[in-house]
Subunit: 480 residues, 2 copies
């Protein structure tokens, strides 16, 4: 585990796979395309869950759980939906020793079964809005898979809301896009760009889809969360109706929104370096690792005592801390190991530090001397660690913003577009093309419209491709 990984510049894919295995985040399951999320990887997901769940509840949502098995006929009720998902479905055909009368779909997403229930729960405008979220596993049978990014089974949350008016549904859709953006920026230190999906990239069954798009270390885009305005599409398919305040029977207006274990992949590929993972302190399972240093046996007791003291101080300060007291490995081996695992802050304690009643801090995000400070007094360890972790979190976000902005190019011609995409960067351009032209562009360059960013220059411009008048700027990139 102390061996180096393939450098990112040499083979980004190999780097990714090696890092997630070396850091023991995941392993491959026995069924093709499945992954086992190991404790260290799952702990990152638990922090993602906690931070999202807190935000969902603060915005008035409640959790619930709907069955994973959906009658196949439910999916057929919404035409776009079944067309979008049917190639990826897993079907249960036998259960309890018998062939089932109707095959059951293992949920790829839950709009259909949830509408089936909402149709029974909603009678009057007084029953609205319904603001429900579900934490669950879902299955999408994909041909090309990659741990965290695309697996046949993955974990996610899916919010499903129903409202009395179109305006409320759009407001909810954008509110949750805002929650996702806030989470990504402030917890994951991923400077996502929120925006609207193009018509051909939207969710199967949605009226409008919004997304947060993140730039990975190789310049590719990762769709990291989506929020959909479903309009009345599913409500019509499932007869989800209510009596309005005026006494009229109307279809409800709905939204759905989700973030998945893919976010773990986003964290890895936004921040990781050639030494391995670099975890943002707010999501790191271990925020501080204490590594004792000793050469002689007589050094061990006083060093261990100091380690225990510092560990207790940090724990009392609410910091997630571990001490690596293993005697089988050298301090150097431990440095590499915990760097591979991306622990944000390392504290080194040797006999000289004990003598000075001080410790050494070394931050993961800045290698070598630049990130190291000697002689931090024991008495200040709690306050200093907190300050360093906050600074690391902020610096990681700042670095990712700079990387992102340095790799987005404003283009105004097809040539510049091709060059930008070929160079692995994102192209930002006025766009007035058709769905067909968008598809052709993807065919030719591999780039898709990641989104029409919420932040627009305003006014109109000239479409880089067609030369027509464009009302919006789009972001194009190759994506995971």
């Amino acid at each position: 585990m102390s061996e180096a990984v393939t450098p990112r510049s040499q083979d980004y894919s190999a780097w990714y796979i090696e890092v997630i295995q070396r850091a023991q985040l995941v392993d491959y399951g026995p069924v093709k395309g499945t992954m086992v999320i190991r404790p260290y990887g799952y702990a990152i997901w638990e922090h993602i869950q906690a931070q999202l769940d807190r935000r969902f509840k603060a915005t008035g949502h409640e959790n619930a759980y709907f069955p994973m098995f959906i009658p196949y006929s439910f999916l057929q009720k919404e035409a776009e939906h079944v067309e979008g998902f049917s190639p990826e479905l897993a079907l249960v055909t036998h259960a309890g020793g018998k062939k089932l009368e109707e095959p059951l779909v293992v949920r790829p997403t839950s709009e259909t079964i949830i509408n089936h229930m909402y149709a029974q729960w909603v009678k009057s405008y007084r029953d609205l809005p319904i603001l429900i979220n579900q934490w669950a596993n879902v299955v999408r049978w994909e041909l090309r898979t990659r741990p965290f990014l695309r697996t046949t089974e993955f974990l996610w949350q899916e919010g499903h809301t129903a409202h009395a008016t179109a305006a409320e549904a759009e407001e909810e859709t954008l509110k949750m896009l805002g929650v996702y953006t806030d989470f990504a920026m402030n917890e994951a230190a991923i400077p996502v760009i929120p925006g609207r999906k193009s018509n051909i990239e939207k969710f199967a069954g949605a009226v409008r889809s919004y997304t947060i798009e993140a730039m990975m270390g190789d310049g590719k885009a990762l769709q990291s969360g989506t929020s959909h305005n479903l309009g009345q599409n599913f409500a019509r398919a499932f007869e989800t109706r209510f009596q309005s305040e005026k006494g009229e029977v109307e279809y409800v207006w709905q939204t759905s929104w989700g973030v998945s274990t893919r976010m773990v992949g986003g964290v890895i590929m936004t921040h990781g370096d050639d030494k391995g993972l670099v975890l943002p302190p707010r999501l790191a399972p271990t925020q501080v690792i204490i590594v004792p240093i000793w050469n002689k046996d007589e050094d061990k007791p006083p060093v261990k005592e100091k380690v225990a003291q510092v560990e207790a101080i940090l724990r009392d300060a609410g910091i997630r801390v571990k001490a690596d007291l293993s005697e089988q490995e050298t301090a150097g081996w431990k440095f590499n190991e915990w760097e591979m695992r991306g622990v944000p802050l390392r504290i080194e304690i040797g006999p000289k530090d004990v003598a000075k009643d001080a410790v050494v801090f070394a931050r993961r995000d800045k290698p070598g001397k630049e990130g190291k400070q000697f002689g931090i007094p024991t008495a200040e360890v709690g306050v200093q660690a907190r300050a360093w972790l906050d600074d690391i979190q902020a610096a990681m976000l700042q670095r990712a913003i700079e990387f992102r902005d340095a790799n987005i190019v404003d283009v105004t011609s097809p040539e510049a577009f091709r060059e930008t995409i070929a160079a692995g960067k994102w192209a930002r351009a006025w766009w007035a093309g058709t769905d067909e032209q968008e598809r052709a562009l993807k065919e030719e360059t591999g780039a898709t419209i990641r989104c029409f960013p919420m932040e627009q220059p305003g006014g109109t411009g000239t479409c880089f491709l067609t030369g027509g008048e464009a009302k919006e700027v789009a972001l194009f990139a190759r994506a995971y």
Copy 2:
């Protein structure tokens, strides 16, 4: 929703189904035997999860996630295991538009797939113990289902550990039995009886199974959690081996243990009464409901102001509080509604209370005047509410203990046994019967050995059935 439910004494099953629907804990899913866990029911589960998870982590366990789809051949590797589970399996035969080469089992439990992974992870004694837990959904295709108690899909946690010695595995099995017992007593106020399962009742693939058995309001037993010593059964089937400290290659020793959404059913049936749910404060989604009382419009502003003040005090005190300010319903209707939902403590605030700068407390577990106190000063509301909630929690446990102990009968003859079981009680008796005699007893009386309680009288006694010398006392009851 303010209508009364069928009294428990009249039809316990009807009472249960009516209460869980009226209190909006669950609804039926579209596929037979599935349930939708609605927000109020799911919130109880979230508190169960939080309290268990805290205990798992405090005892050194980490969470992880293993794929839900298991190759069918895996189950066949452990003979007892496949025999026990095959009648209940759901099979995925098609995925991604194609027939699969081998059908996939939707996990009924995860010993097999986890052993497949552990076999790859464990090399040396230094890799042991592995202490992993998983929160997941599982599927068992049951013919007779009942919400929470037995559903085709349910939520649970399953712990899976691997150890270097048989003694360590047994120690772990008993430790987790202790964790479950502690949780049930101190969080759910359910006075479970921990014990060992009989040979014919043990988990398919286990060497020894332990259980916590709870007595429901109708006298039936509910197996509420189990902890299994798996010995080396799965290790042999999956070649899960390690090199011991002495350099020998040995099979690991394993345990597994689980608690499911069935626990929610246990809470309902242990504490509920003819007015509906009675929730233990430590698991109640809402611990205190504030109901304002007004007759005239001019009363509303001062009452609402006081409600807001009391709500803020309680929230600051860390109490889960809600105020029911709806103007469409009467105070009386609200009393019934929140009693149905089992909220442990109600605070009433009317104009007279405002004038006295005081409030009224009414506890859910004691009906009428006995549970009501007038004139509690606003300034004391936080401290008093905390004290009342603690007292309610303790009183609920105490009442359940008394009910349990009043319904366990020591029997020494087959006649007394039959009478006890026929009366809906539990029989405690010395037992030296065979598996066959145990099966015959079940056939005749409907009662099974729930467990051999951990607490034994010691010495030996005379088997109530065979008259032979018995080394242990067993608990018999009809069960859910």
